[in-house]
Amino acid sequence: MNVLSDDSLEIRRDADVVACRQAVRARSVEQGFGLVDQTKIVTAASEIARNTLQYGGGGTVRIQKLADGSKQGLRLVFEDRGPGIADIARAMTDGFTTGSGLGKGLSGTKRLVNEFDLWSKPGEGTRITITRWK
């Protein structure tokens, strides 16, 4: 598997979530994603970027264009140094939230992408890696 490009963006303010969505959309178009795949990965990015900002207190996202044989993909790595997630299993449950949202962001995102990886340690931070293949 080859990494064709690797960009990094800061997520510090609301406007950065918008910028992240736009960057992900642009990269997914470059990778030749169809409209449905574009919408899925952009929506997933929107969910996680907002979590990074709201619960992680801000962080970064890396956007990598991938190629594996004839397959094209996009991998997003969101990282923050926030409080971390105490109970990952519960956080992944539909409808569970510690904030005021719908509680469907994490579980929904997992369904929007092909690969989903969540690493978190209380007090250290959270890293979420999502990948969508064309």
């Binding site: 918008v18 969505r21 449905v36 929107s46 969910e47 719908l102 469907k104 929904g108 369904r111 929007l112």
Partner: protein, 280 residues
């Protein structure tokens, strides 16, 4: 040891100024060259620079002694930024002083003193130059913020389609600041027009994630409390698929693929039909 820079600035003031203005004329692009405030500003800058470096530490650009000169540069950046002059030219205003100043330093000093003073002068001017760029950026950010505010106001028109039927074509990002305004103007209009159907059209919303969906549902609930039913239109195929994956439940809210479908549905609910006019 006190720096020689202020003495040299004062002693050769007019010569440095002349050389500096010539240097500026060479390095600026056409628009900036045409500005007639440059000689007066440059003279003021040299005076302030001599005062600031005489009073304090040559390295301490952020200190109290440099307050006047920082204000002058910020003012300059702001005005030039607003006039559309590039940050490069504004920074060059400071950087172009290097050559004339260094020439005088070389004339007056030699050996280690020369090297030391060259180093402090270059550090000083670099920092002052960066200051103009930072100020330019701040001005830009203020402009952008104001434009965002303007957009907020502009982007939420509630239109009346028929007696009792309102439409709200939503465009762009539904972040929390905007949805608040959207909701307010919709509820206001419902009260004014006594509408009983409101169509929220999301054709122009590129991403519907859980937060956007939550905002929509809240708007629908508030409108319902005021006696108006909402129809959400403009649900494109890719948005529909994404919402299913996110397990967003729109409850009993009527949703339609296009604004036309939603309008037809609203008319039907009011017992109205659209018929072709018959030629008599």
């Amino acid at each position: 040891m006190a720096s020689h820079i202020p003495d040299i600035l004062r002693k050769h003031n007019s010569a440095i100024l002349t050389d500096w203005l010539a240097e500026q004329a060479r390095s600026f692009s056409r628009d900036t060259r045409a500005r007639d405030d440059t000689p007066a500003l440059s003279a003021r800058f040299l005076g302030e620079l001599a005062d600031a470096t005489a009073k304090g530490n040559v390295d301490d650009v952020d200190g109290e002694d440099f307050r006047e000169i920082r204000a002058l540069l910020e003012d300059l950046s702001r005005q030039r930024g607003l006039a559309g002059i590039s940050p490069r030219d504004t920074a060059m205003f400071v950087f172009s002083l290097k050559k004339p100043l260094f020439a005088r330093l070389r004339q007056e000093l030699s050996g280690d003193a020369l090297v030391d003073e060259m180093w402090s002068a270059t550090t000083l001017l670099d920092r002052l130059g960066l200051l103009t760029t930072e100020a330019f950026q701040r001005t830009r950010e203020q402009i952008i913020e104001r434009q965002q505010q303007d957009m907020l106001e502009l982007s939420t028109p509630v239109v009346k389609l028929w007696r009792g039927i309102l439409a709200l074509p939503m465009i762009g990002t539904l972040d929390s600041g905007r949805t608040q305004i959207v909701m307010e103007s919709l509820l206001q209009k419902i009260a004014e027009t006594e509408a009983d159907v409101a169509i929220l059209d999301i054709t122009g919303v590129p991403t519907v994630d859980t937060l956007v969906a939550q905002h929509l549902l809240k708007t629908v609930a508030a409108a319902r409390l005021m006696g108006a039913d909402c129809i959400i239109s403009g649900v494109r195929p890719q948005i529909a698929q994404t919402m299913v994956h996110l397990a967003i439940d729109m409850g009993d809210v009527t949703t339609k693929a296009s604004l036309a479908d939603a309008f037809a549905h609203a008319l039907k609910r009011q017992g109205l039909t659209v018929v072709r006019a018959v030629k008599s």
